[in-house]
Amino acid sequence: MKRVLEGSHAVAEAVRLANVQVVSAYPITPQTHIVEIISDYCAKGKMNAKFIPVESEHSCLAALVGAQSAGVRTFTATSSQGLALMHEILHWVSAARLPIVMVDVNRALGPGWNIWTDQTDSLSQRDTGWIQLYCEDGQEVLDTTLQAFRLAERVNLPVMVVLDAFFLSHTYEPVDVPEQKEVDRFLPSYSPRFNLDTRNPYTLSPLVTPAFYMEMRHDMALAMDEAMTCFAEIEEEYAALFNRRYGSVEAVTCDDAEIILVTSGTITSTTRLLLEELRAKGEKVGLLKMKMFRPFPVEAVCRALGRAKKVAVIDRNFSFGAGGVFAQEIKAALYKLPVRPTVFGYIAGLGGRDVTTDILEEIYIKTRETDLPSQESIWIGLQEVKYAN
């Protein structure tokens, strides 16, 4: 049934439909709407789940480590400082091979305090062993959250579903909310491969010497690789039932494009508008939307970008001393091609600054008019700042 929902509400609907059994959360703007709705569902019996109102994000994820290890499906949502506080346990969850699903609402990190969207919080967790999926709109948020449970439980790795603060978390859009019995066909109840059981006692996550540690990490690496193929299979199944499919990446008019803009999150929707305008003027331009970030879809990226002359990556994030994170990863992926497009890295929209079609057009024209990027990262829309003395 189509309903007009906030991005946050779309998450909550997916969690309800997924029959999650334990939810734990700690409030942080702009994640609050998600957990308020879920705790209300738990209180009213719309969800048969226990909500643990912990005293911090660190404890939140630790509580889910306990719950998931004891054999139930779990969920949490956080943002920014909260995700950073979870860092230690992010590693713990993936190495303990727990299929926990989390939503991260992308928000800038302080100082200065800034509650608006910025991807640096989730992208700086890239080496924690979590699958990361970035969403563009409310429908994709709902669909991806449902798929995340299947994917996580299939490969025994945690999944982070990522959405932009406010532009997505607090924006109302029509969202098709599937029926419970349809969802049940896609996502059966959770049956753990291992769990804490007094009838079959064993130890989880003990001391591991150098004799075994490497093999355990290698298994994780294989599971992460497997996640790529599993994701495609799960999307096929989902499409067969609900007729919606997104892909690890989405290439729009990339086949004959000379310049391709690479985006993620809500900037993608704005870029779609510009793309139509530019194509109408005869510009040979394409768009590559990045949905999956971990595992990084190297093959799909090479296929989409391989024939272009130039690629402009728009990063709403920054890794100091290196550049935009998507730009770095895309450059690394393209390295395997014998002939490669020139990659331009643009930094835009940090801390929630609006990225309009005008800004995107400026990026496109800059890329078209220069042969090589003037800098490793080109910061767009910087104003001259007069600091107080």
């Binding site: 334990v22 643990i52 912990v54 306990g66 004891a70 054999g71 713990w92 007094t198 989880l204 996550s205």
Partner: protein
């Protein structure tokens, strides 16, 4: 107390604790009371090692090792999952050191007991971070040498009174116990097991390695901690009802201190001051229990 508790064993020989390790004795006794329907949460501490490396385990019950500061939170999650599965029979226990309880895990513990999660939190107290090589914790007593309170910089601060902090949370049951008093320890574990809500057991567990004592003195010194009133045995129900389980008048604190390498540097004057502190604490406890010395 059930007599058969003594015959049950849920710990195997072949653990990797040091000879005379009080933490190991504490677990063995505690598990006799708990039985097989127990799931144990083990945050980082000496016990992360004592339990044995993969693929071995010294425990016959399910154990989940977890990050250092997460004892309270991880147990809350295990409990929530068991409740969702309709398993009310299994007890959830967190087994943490003093560092994981008094210091880094304090927030997680306070959060869990404020929510009155149905679990038993056991702190085995060896009065320092032993796993990492005898560094001071807020449980390290006044007067002690550790590797981070070395030489003349021995700890000149009081040990945090964790029991009273837990009592202030007004949870159903808080008790102290000691490896040298096995009947009392087992009775308290059984009592904790029978009560719903958050229970806290503070077990004094000597550490030959960190205290610089011979391993065969481990139990004797633990016993002296009670006999000197340094570590009184008592229990508190609902944050109000105090019961002192043992009222000794046997030793002066100096006799306990003189036996341990970690206190070697203390002068007679220091020991007199410590005696005054111990007497004062004991007096406070008697008052709370409504008793006289």
């Amino acid at each position: 107390m059930q007599i058969d508790a003594y015959d049950r064993e849920y710990m195997c020989s072949g653990h990797v604790g040091c000879a005379g390790c009080g933490a190991t004795i504490a677990m063995r006794l505690f598990m006799k009371a708990m039985g097989e329907k127990t799931i144990m949460v083990l945050p980082a501490c000496c016990w992360s090692v004592i339990a044995g490396p993969y693929p071995q385990s010294a425990m016959k019950i399910p154990v989940i090792h977890t990050a250092f500061e997460t004892g309270g939170a991880t147990a809350s999650g295990v409990r929530a999952a068991l409740d969702m599965k309709g398993d009310t029979e299994t007890s959830v226990v967190t087994w943490a050191g003093d560092g994981g309880t008094f210091d880094i895990g304090f927030q997680s513990l306070s959060g869990a007991v404020e929510r009155n999660e149905d679990f038993i939190y056991v702190c085995y107290d060896n009065e320092a971070y032993m796993n990492t090589g005898i560094q001071r914790s807020s449980s390290t007593p006044y007067g002690a040498w550790t590797t981070t309170t070395p030489g003349q910089d021995w700890k000149r601060l009081r040990k945090k009174n964790i029991v009273e902090v837990l009592v202030a949370h007004r949870i159903p049951y808080v008790a102290t116990a000691n490896i040298a008093f096995p009947e009392d320890l087992i009775r308290k574990a059984q009592k904790a097991k029978s009560i719903k809500g958050s229970k806290f057991l503070h077990i004094f567990a000597s550490c030959p390695t960190g205290w610089r004592i011979p391993s065969e003195m481990s139990v004797k010194i633990a016993r002296m901690a009670v006999q000197t009133n340094i570590f009184p045995l008592y229990e508190v129900e609902d944050g109000i009802h105090y019961t002192i389980n043992h009222k000794p008048k046997e030793y002066l604190v100096r006799e306990y201190f003189k036996l341990q390498g970690r206190f070697r540097h203390l002068t007679d004057k220091d020991l007199d001051q410590i005696q005054t502190m111990v007497d004062e604490d004991w007096g406070l406890l008697l008052k709370k229990a409504g008793e006289r010395s």
